[in-house]
C-alpha cells in the first residue's frame, strides 16, 4: 500500500511539473551522453595504445652515400643491441614498393618519385618502445645514418588529441551535470512547495522522514534514469551514424567501438544519473523541507 502511494505520488509529481521534468531529463541525458563518450574514448585510447605500441617501429634512414661496410657494421651493431627486439632491412626497391602501396590513390605523386630517390632504412622493433631516446643517442652520429624517426612521437601527438577530446567531453559532461543538478534542486523545491500542505500534515501526524522524502527523491531518480536511457540511445545513434557511418573509412586507424562497449557504459551512466539525482534531491530536501 505504502509503496503504491509513493509510486503514484512520484508519477503525479513528475506530471504536475512536466516542463521542468523534461528540462531535467534533457540536461541529464546530454550530460550522461558526454560522460559516456568520455568513457568510450578513455577505454578506446587504452586499447589503441596497447595495439599501436606493440607494433611501433623506429626507422633509421641511411644517407645516399652510405657504403656497404657502414651498412653491415650498423646491422651487426643493431642485431647485438639488447634494446632492439627485431631488425628489418628495407632496401630502395622495397621502400619504393611500400611507397607505391601507401600512395596508390595518388598517381601524380607516384610518377614524380623515382625508386632511386627513396632512402634505404632499418626498421627496428624495440623491446620497450619508451627507450627510443637511448637508441636515438646511440646511433645518431653513426657513419651513414641520415635520420632516425620514431613512430611513437607521431602516435603521442595523435593520442594527445584523443586525450584532449576526452577531456572536452568530460568538461562538457560536468558542466551539463551542474545544470542538471540545479534543475533537480529547483524541481524538488517547486514540488515541495506545491505539496506543502500535505507535508505539513504528514509532519504533524508523525509520518516518518523517509516516507515524506521518498516521493520527491524518487522523482529526481526517475528523471535521472530516464536521462541515462536517453543517453544510451544517443550513444547507439553515435555508433550507428558516426563510427559505422561517416567515420567507417577510418576503421583501420581506430580500434572499433563495439556494441558491447556501448552497453557496458549504460550501467555507469545509469548509476551516475540515479545517484547524482538522489543525492541532490535529498540534500535539497534537508535544506528546504527541514523534516
Amino acid at each position: 500500500m505504502r509503496l503504491k502511494y509513493v509510486l503514484s505520488e512520484v508519477l503525479v509529481g513528475l506530471w504536475r511539473n512536466v516542463t521542468m521534468t523534461i528540462a531535467m531529463i534533457i540536461t541529464m541525458a546530454v550530460s550522461l551522453t558526454m560522460l559516456g563518450v568520455s568513457g568510450l574514448v578513455y577505454s578506446k585510447v587504452g586499447d589503441m595504445k596497447d595495439l599501436y605500441y606493440k607494433n611501433i617501429q623506429v626507422s633509421i634512414f641511411l644517407d645516399g652515400q652510405v657504403t656497404e661496410q657502414q651498412r653491415t657494421d650498423l646491422q651487426a651493431k643493431l642485431d647485438s643491441d639488447p634494446l632492439v627486439k627485431d631488425v628489418i632491412y628495407v632496401n630502395k626497391d622495397e621502400a619504393y614498393k611500400r611507397f607505391q602501396e601507401m600512395f596508390q590513390d595518388a598517381p601524380d605523386l607516384l610518377s614524380a618519385v623515382k625508386a632511386d630517390s627513396l632512402p634505404e632504412s632499418f626498421r627496428l622493433t624495440l623491446v620497450n618502445p619508451e627507450q627510443y631516446k637511448d637508441i636515438y643517442n646511440q646511433y645518431k652520429d653513426t657513419a651513414g645514418v641520415d635520420e632516425i624517426v620514431d613512430q611513437s612521437r607521431l602516435l603521442d601527438k595523435i593520442f594527445d588529441l584523443f586525450t584532449a577530446a576526452q577531456n572536452i567531453a568530460l568538461v562538457a559532461a560536468i558542466a551539463m551535470a551542474v545544470a542538471a543538478l540545479l534543475l533537480v534542486a529547483n524541481t524538488i523545491q517547486v514540488a515541495a512547495y506545491s505539496k506543502r500542505r500535505e507535508v505539513a500534515v504528514m509532519k504533524l501526524v508523525g509520518a516518518s522522514n523517509w516516507f515524506i522524502q521518498a516521493p520527491f527523491v524518487l522523482e529526481a531518480v526517475v528523471a535521472g534514469l530516464v536521462g541515462s536511457v536517453l543517453g544510451l540511445v544517443a550513444l547507439v545513434g553515435l555508433k550507428f551514424f558516426l563510427f559505422d557511418g561517416s567515420l567507417s573509412a577510418l576503421q583501420g586507424l581506430f580500434s572499433p567501438v563495439s556494441w558491447g562497449d556501448i552497453f557496458l557504459m549504460f550501467p555507469v551512466m545509469a548509476a551516475v544519473g540515479g545517484l547524482v539525482s538522489a543525492i541532490t534531491g535529498w540534500v535539497t530536501l534537508r535544506f528546504y523541507l527541514r523534516v
Partner: protein, 220 residues
C-alpha cells in the same frame, strides 16, 4: 525551563515550570505574544528550550534526536485555529490520510475513520470537501484527524479562534468528551467565555512568565 528565540530581545518563556498530569484538561491563557504558543511548539518538539527540560509521557523530549520525532508525534494529536485540512480531499480522506502516512492500511482506515467521524458528529458528511463544510464542521474534521490515532495528548492551539460562540461551545463539548476518554487536553486560548464556562485548570502566562495557575479557574 526557558526558551529564547534567536533575535528576540526577551525570552518567549522565562523560567517556566509546569506539570500536567495524565488525563487533565488545561487552558493556557494570556495576551498575544505572551508565549502560549511556544508551549505547544515545545511539546511537539518543534523547538527546543535553551535551558531546562521538556518531559512528555515520561520521555525527555529535550534531548530527543530529530529522527525519533516522527514516532514521538504519533502519541500527540494537534488542532489549530486554521484547521489545516487538505482542500482537495474529503472529510473521510483527510482523516484517512493521517492514518495512511504513518503506515496504517486502507482496511484499518475503513474501519476506524467512520467511527471517529461519527464520534465528532459528522456522520453522513464523510464525502464532503472542506469547502462544502462550515467552519465548525471543518474543525470537527480536524479534531477527528487528531484523535483517530488515539493519542495520549491532544494539543489545541486556539481551536475556536475562527468560530462563532455557539460553534465554539460545540467544539469544546467535543474536546471535553475526548478528555473523558482519558486523553490529556492542553488548549491555548484567549476566549474568555469558554474558559469561564468550562471551569478547568487555568494557567495564565504574561510576558513569558506564569502569573496564575488555578484549578477550576476562570479567565480572570
Amino acid at each position: 525551563m526557558t526558551k529564547t528565540y534567536p533575535k528576540a530581545s526577551r525570552p518567549s518563556l522565562d523560567n517556566v515550570s509546569v506539570s500536567i498530569e495524565k488525563g487533565e484538561f488545561v487552558f493556557f491563557i494570556g495576551p498575544s505574544g505572551s508565549g502560549k504558543s511556544t508551549i505547544i511548539k515545545l511539546l511537539l518538539h518543534e523547538v527546543t528550550p535553551n535551558r531546562g527540560r521538556v518531559i512528555v509521557n515520561s520521555k525527555d523530549v529535550t534531548s530527543m534526536r530529530s529522527w525519533k520525532r516522527p514516532h514521538f508525534r504519533r502519541s500527540i494529536g494537534c488542532v489549530f485555529q486554521d484547521f489545516r485540512l487538505l482542500p482537495n480531499r474529503t472529510a473521510y480522506e483527510n482523516v484517512a490520510f493521517a492514518l495512511e502516512v504513518i503506515g496504517k492500511t486502507k482496511a484499518v482506515a475503513r474501519r476506524v475513520v467512520p467511527e471517529v467521524l461519527e464520534l465528532v458528529g459528522l456522520g453522513g458528511k464523510e464525502h464532503r470537501y472542506p469547502h462544502e463544510l462550515s467552519g465548525g464542521e471543518q474543525q470537527r474534521v480536524a479534531v477527528a484527524r487528531a484523535f483517530v490515532n488515539r493519542p495520549l495528548i491532544l494539543l489545541a492551539d486556539e481551536p475556536t479562534g475562527n468560530l462563532d460562540p455557539d460553534t465554539s461551545i460545540e467544539i469544546m463539548r467535543l474536546l471535553d468528551r475526548i478528555n473523558r476518554t482519558g486523553t490529556t487536553v492542553v488548549m491555548v486560548t484567549h476566549d474568555s467565555n469558554i474558559v469561564n464556562q468550562m471551569r478547568r485548570r487555568v494557567i495564565e502566562i504574561e510576558s513569558g512568565r506564569i502569573v496564575r495557575d488555578q484549578a477550576r479557574g476562570v479567565y480572570g
